[in-house]
Amino acid sequence: MKLTWKLAVSTCAIAVLLSGCERQEEEAATGGEVNAAEQFVPLLVYRSGPYAPNGIPFANGLVDYLNLVNLRDGGVNGVTLTYEECETGYATDRGVECYERLKGKGPTGATAVNPLSTGITFALTEKVAADKIPLITMGYGRSESVDGSVFKWNFPLLGTYWTAADILVQHVGNLSGGLNKLEGKKIALVYHDSPYGKEPIPLLEKRAKMHGFELLKIPVTHPGVEQKAAWLQVRQNRPDFVFLWGWGVMNSTAIKEAAAVRYPRDQMYGVWWAGAEPDVTPAGRNSKGYNSITLQHSSGRTAIHADIIEYVHGGGKGAGPEKDVGHVLYNRGLINAVLLVESIRTAQGKYGEKSLTGEEVRWGIENLNLTAARIKELGLEGMMQPVKLSCSDHEGVRRARIHQWDGSDWQFVSDWIEADNSVVRPMVDAAADKYAKEKGIKKVNCTS
């Protein structure tokens, strides 16, 4: 009797599993015949797991803006934006599955993918080229993918880690009274021990050689909950500045440990993924004075947020709590969505106001030209600088400011600083060439 019961239960479980697969197929089969005036955007998000505190506001900003465009303007020139979220949990294999699941949805397939994870970016770089879907990695991903002649489908918009590191060095140079004054100084890089954290090292090493400062590399093992040894090293070596290249729990822990070894927070500079509210609030008042580079924007609200609150949150469609609108990572998601929508708009100018394929949108991103006037029109004035992409430049803008946590909010403490392309670009070209050679990719001729 007991055995029969066991069998029945497991047979049921297996049957349910199988029927699930069938449904999947059916869905895939009917995916092609939806309303023609729709543009599908797959959203790879993480709202649970260790990085959820950072993933949630970003996803909310992204979704809110897409909804705003639909609710306020009726879509992009009449083309409704549809989207579906897929939880990656920041895991590479789940991200790949999400991508595969969503890439064929909507009348013309996925518009563009924003993986929001370095690991997933790596895994998708090749797949998107085969599927002809652009991969937008705003403020992360491979630094060498700026070179569009090799990385035709990658778009590290608004800045790569090499850009960030270059601007940070320039900023601390300015503080010291000129880059040449950095000679003999010590800069410590406390970084997440992964491709993400190691990305800035080549650039910092190059700059160290140029200006004669000493670079101290201190890795922190994932997930970074225990960093005592790293900060004792900082205490003993007394670097003039600390650059923090962390993510998630590592950032707030770093600030706390810095306080515990009495390292001055105002000599700490985080990358833009180490400069949002979840990074500083857990450390309480110990975070006061901590700096980070911004990816164009900081926290705060502008005209666009008023619209979001009126149209999206007012209609009860807000993705998160209204009080979080305008947080740093929320704004980053928002700008990510703005760039995507403006790219679609650009592409529509060439291909017509209909559902566009990934390939057409790629053209739109590459020819995106977001002028100051347009930024003001969109209600983003003060949040970002003009962006203009080209075939050889998939980054669009290389300028950033530094902001500082005053205990309750972020305040800008520097003017716009532009990364020195004569330093960064040769590295991009060299790395991109190496990649092209390894992978056997034929470079696109950008001059024609």
Binding site: P50, K217, P223, K228, A229, L232, V249, A260, N286
Partner: protein, 303 residues
């Protein structure tokens, strides 16, 4: 000499913090032979419950005490459920199945905790001082910096261990627990109710998880990553032995000091970031001489 002592002290303190998590593992292993991988998830769950309750109850007269009381009740309920729904159906199964079941519990608690209490980051402030102390400034250049937060944690851990020791040695239940640990069947035959004992052990482990969660949570902020601290407690566990409360403390001290010293003095030579695996290698090295851990029980196999 100053920096060396400083690293050593920092390491010992970190070790005590690992011990706090390791203690939960030991309690359950000792009494039921279950390698409870859900201990990390329990730390997260307890801390999340505590910090969110504190938020909801912040206008009452004693938010900390109230939420502490409610969280304790939650952990007791959890222990009851675990005993009823997991341990009882799996009685007499091989240890590996029980281990897997606790992994299942860990998944369940991760999901449950986040869906009830949210997956954001929550600041926990129970009034633990955060200002570092500078000692012996006259003896060493720069003095020796000691984190007061860690000092409090060490004190709490000390009290906890002393309390557990008294509990095991002096109380009736404690003696029953030790009897169960020695031999399930013999204990049952002298009238010790096994199920009841398991509930108690899981409750105590839950309370230890709560203490660990509060201390780690006020250090890191309460968030999902708290559950990953379990991985730092494992080398402590194998070094000290799965069955020894004292072993968890001594093991923690050795691992903590070992990993911090290695990271500071050996790390820079080979690229840094070594403390994570070094702790395991250190534990492994000890195991080669004492395969049951420093204070583990020696089992004699008979054919």
């Amino acid at each position: 000499m100053g920096p060396f002592i400083e690293v050593l002290i920092a390491g010992l303190m970190a070790g005590v913090l690992y011990s706090l998590v390791a203690l939960g593992f030991v309690l359950i292993f000792k009494a039921s032979g279950v390698f409870n991988f859900a201990q990390g998830a329990m730390v997260l769950f307890a801390a999340l419950s505590f910090v969110r309750l504190m938020e909801f109850l912040q206008n009452t007269f004693a938010p900390i005490l109230l939420s502490l009381a409610i969280t304790i009740v939650i952990m007791i309920v959890l222990a009851l459920l675990v005993e009823r729904l997991v341990l009882r159906p799996l009685v007499n199964q091989p240890p590996i199945s029980l281990f897997m079941a606790t992994l299942g519990i860990a998944y369940f608690l991760d999901g449950l905790g986040q869906s009830i209490w949210g997956s954001d980051i929550y600041t926990l402030d129970v009034g633990i001082p955060k200002e570092p102390l500078l000692l012996f400034e006259s003896v060493f250049e720069d003095g020796i910096l000691v984190s007061s937060e860690d000092l409090v944690a060490a004190l709490v851990a000390g009290v906890l261990v002393a309390g557990l020791a008294v509990f095991f040695q002096r109380t009736r239940i404690g003696r029953a627990l030790r009897a169960v640990a020695d031999d399930h069947q013999a204990a049952q035959s002298v009238g010790i109710p096994l199920n009841y004992i398991w509930v108690i052990v899981w409750t105590v482990a839950g309370l230890v998880a709560l203490v660990a969660g509060i201390i780690w949570g006020s250090k890191l902020g309460v968030q999902f990553s708290l559950s990953l601290i379990a991985l730092k407690a494992l080398p402590v566990l194998i070094l000290g032995g799965f069955e020894s409360v004292l072993g968890a403390i001594i093991g923690g001290l050795i691992i903590g000091a070992g990993e911090k010293l290695s990271e500071t003095y050996l790390g820079p030579l080979i690229g840094g970031g070594i403390e994570y695996w070094f702790a395991y290698v250190l534990a492994l090295a000890f195991l080669l001489f004492r395969p049951q851990g420093l204070f583990g029980e020696v089992h004699i196999d008979r054919v």
